[in-house]
Amino acid sequence: MEEKPNASRNNTPPKTPAWVKAFFIVIVLLILIVIIAHLMGLRFDHGGASALFIISMSHLNVQQIL
């Protein structure tokens, strides 16, 4: 189960693999596409409303507790 990278034999920390970098670039690009689509006026109103609803409810709950 344990990996035995060459780095561990050289006592140097392993580098981030290329597939991990590619994954995070894809995630950032997807988030940017969603933001741009939202700014261009595509319909995300119900989803956005839901997110705001969750945030506002958590805010209300905190106020009620306080």
Partner: protein, 179 residues
């Protein structure tokens, strides 16, 4: 915390069952969303959105929360794999968190469409919301397929934290042998 072999197998069984069930439920949800988008039969469209609301609330949401909050952390923290030692586990965690967040954000449009289905007032003005449900379900299915593939192939790559842990444990073992 280390899990015994029997408990580990039991939790792994729950984890695999729930995650594959989540994948299957999203596939069924996508099929319904496509039918809801393309069908001209009003009764069928109403039935589709009511079904999607029920499937989401009682199947997909519970199936998404169990591996994210319980079985996933238990399996990783209770075994030598760890939660932050290998990149593939971190990537799976990120996919699970994003998928669940997107699902929770889309509960509102699903409920909105189900409400319209009950009142029989679905119109061409709701086309955007219908397309949004198909796109979200497709993205969710793709994300879950990716997570399943990563879990099976376990691509190589150890984090600096994981490397330090493994190197430290080996150094400890060596010093134990020498003394």
């Amino acid at each position: 915390m280390k899990l015994g072999p029997n408990l580990r197998k039991f939790i792994r069984t729950i984890h695999v069952t729930v995650t594959v069930g989540w994948l299957g439920a999203v596939a069924g949800y996508l099929a319904l969303a496509i039918v809801g988008l393309n069908s001209q039969d009003g009764q069928l469209v109403s039935a589709v959105y009511l079904s999607m609301d029920i499937i989401t609330r009682y199947v997909i949401v519970p199936l998404s929360l169990v591996p994210l909050l319980f079985t996933g952390p238990l399996l990783s923290l209770g075994t030598p794999w760890g939660l932050f030692r290998h990149y593939w586990i971190i990537v799976k965690l990120v996919i699970s968190i994003l998928s669940t967040l997107i699902l929770l954000v889309h509960l509102k449009p699903i409920q909105h469409m189900a409400h319209l289905a009950v009142t029989g007032t679905i119109s061409s003005a709701d086309r955007g919301a219908q397309i949004q449900l198909v796109v979200a379900a497709s993205a969710g299915l793709l994300a879950l397929l990716t997570a399943t593939g990563i879990a099976i192939y376990k691509p190589r790559g150890m984090t600096v934290y994981g490397w330090q842990k493994q190197y430290g444990e080996r150094a400890g073992e060596r010093s134990d042998v020498e003394t």
